[in-house]
Subunit: 347 residues, 2 copies
């Protein structure tokens, strides 16, 4: 049996059929009917990129991060395995990361200058190019699900601030109390700088810390892809700053023709570089693979304009990329080829 | 004198010098030192695109629009002529359009569902890739100038809502009263639909009306380019909807390497298409001219995803493009080749 038919070895009945029908097999080699192709599917997630210094994290904390990443990965992957959509897989994986206190999104969001938690999120469906995004919301447990509701229940893409909160309430969203988002460590981060003009990207801390943004990209069994990104912003941020995460094209993008991308890093540079769409354009207009394009953007184009961070990407064939130009990026992937990996540092 | 040196005819002293120095001239033909090249510079502005039906506008109104466009054009162009920067030219031109009651930006902004005026704007410097954007602000006379202040006086790109208002106040911005933004015609537009769930893009009205967004792109004598876009949103819009105008890459983009772009149209589609950056990518990655790239995006790619509207674009050589796939687009341009045009409809 040729390379394309290797998977038939697991299906004895079909294999026998083809062993006795070389001519038909040859036809399949040339025409490759979709129905007989084992479609590769995959999920990639991230929990932020930054100056992760190996020595500053205890083995216990490292383990806690890896457990949280693994749980989010397995929950999202189970959806793909059960013929679910890429959209459902990325939403579920991000929901799980939002519910963890370890990552700067949802429950784990950092404190703003006002002592509140302002969150942003975006989701995009590569099949339809539909997208939903939300910014500057407070008290919402799962911003990524609100972004999806904006995509599916309004004619808009992007809602922000008080207006977005009114929309959430009109759908029956209930608000979590400030206690839900309270975290001693993040509170101390904020106390240390709140009376200064400083703000900090959570992931740019030189000490042990909780990192930036979370995100997921997936390719399902039908070859549809999707991307989702959610963030709690920057410690001590003021003035309603909007980062790249909720911006379609900057922090989040998906298109079946090319790739699904979720970014994490110094948001202002990712906005100016229109980073997520740049990966897509390099694939569409220059014929690069998802891996080549993602690397070109993160290791060259973003660096050239002074940005640091990383991204995760997947194409409609289930191929993945996870480049970052920082010391580390919380990341994990699982594919139907039974490959799985959970990592933090550059190896 | 050859084509490259035609401009020397206006400078008798230099012409005499070169007439007596054919060898030196030949060198210049090959090496073309920048200092001796007549750099083409240009300004393009728009006041929105949409279903402008010729019969529905009176000659008087048409004239009023053309006068307003001409004034904005001349004010911006004068800056370029006097060795000013592309950034100053686009800000000045957009300020002028914002101050006119005829266009849906600044003073002429439409009513939201709450009866307020929520405005968005973005500006980008093609030389540095610096950008500033603002969304969901009220009472600010010139949102584009606030966007520029965000670019120049913060480390952020994008501020929105109440936070952006606090930033404006910290800089000493004063707020206009609601009367400043009041307009009987726009009030009636709103009254007609305010109790429905409908909202409308100002430019999508089938009757005589004031149209969408305003914007400007410029190339200055140094070959630096810039883009600016400002809008008053959609009549009866709710929930803090953010359109494409303030989104770098979607409604506004500038990069000396490629082009400066300002878009107007059905914002949600322009966000999903990452339209402004798409023009840039077609130039950078496919080698298209600004005219080819702009036309490809508006007449093909945006149409394919169901979007309608147009854009204005300029490259660092001063070449311009103004494609639109609607019945009309308020637009005007002036170049140092003494070309000037002010138009509304497709000819």
């Amino acid at each position: 049996m040729g390379g394309h038919f290797g998977f038939f070895r697991r299906i004895p009945k079909l294999q026998n059929f083809f062993n006795g029908a070389k001519l038909i097999e040859l036809q399949f080699v040339f025409f490759r009917p979709k129905i007989f192709q084992m479609k590769k599917y995959s999920l990639v997630i991230h929990g932020g990129a930054g100056t992760l210094v190996k020595g500053l994290m205890t083995p216990e904390k490292e383990e806690a991060y890896k457990i949280a990443l693994n749980e989010a990965l397995e929950k999202g992957y189970a959806i793909l395995e059960n013929n679910g959509s890429a959209m459902d897989a990325v939403e579920t994986a991000v929901n799980h990361l939002e519910d963890s206190p370890l990552f700067n999104a949802g429950k784990g969001s950092v404190f703003t200058n006002d002592g509140t938690h302002e969150m942003d999120a975006a989701i995009m469906d590569g099949k339809t190019l539909d997208a939903g995004a939300v910014s500057l919301i407070t008290g919402i447990k799962n911003p990524i699900s609100l972004a999806r509701d904006i995509m599916e229940k309004t004619e808009h893409v992007f809602l922000a601030g008080e207006g977005a909160m009114r929309f959430a309430k009109s759908l029956g969203y209930t608000l979590e109390t400030p206690e839900y988002f309270y975290d001693e460590h993040r509170y101390q981060q904020w106390q240390n700088i709140k009376d200064s003009d400083k703000f900090q990207l959570d992931h740019s801390m030189k000490k042990e810390g909780k990192f930036g943004t979370v995100g997921a990209v997936a390719c399902d069994k039908k070859g549809n892809i999707a991307a989702a990104t959610s963030t709690g912003g920057m410690t001590n941020k003021r003035w309603g700053r909007v980062g790249d995460s909720p911006m379609v094209g900057a922090g989040t993008y998906a298109n079946n023709k090319t790739c699904a991308v979720s970014c994490t890093g110094s948001g202002e540079y990712f906005i100016r570089g229109v980073v997520a769409y740049d990966v897509s354009c390099l694939m569409e207009y220059k014929g690069m693979s998802v891996e080549e394009a993602a690397s070109e953007v993160i290791n060259k184009r973003v660096l050239e304009i002074g940005g640091d961070g990383g991204l995760i990407a997947v194409d409609a064939d289930g191929n993945i990329a996870m480049p970052f130009n920082t010391e580390g990026m919380y990341r994990a992937f699982k594919t139907s080829e039974e490959k799985k990996e959970i990592s933090i540092y550059r190896d």
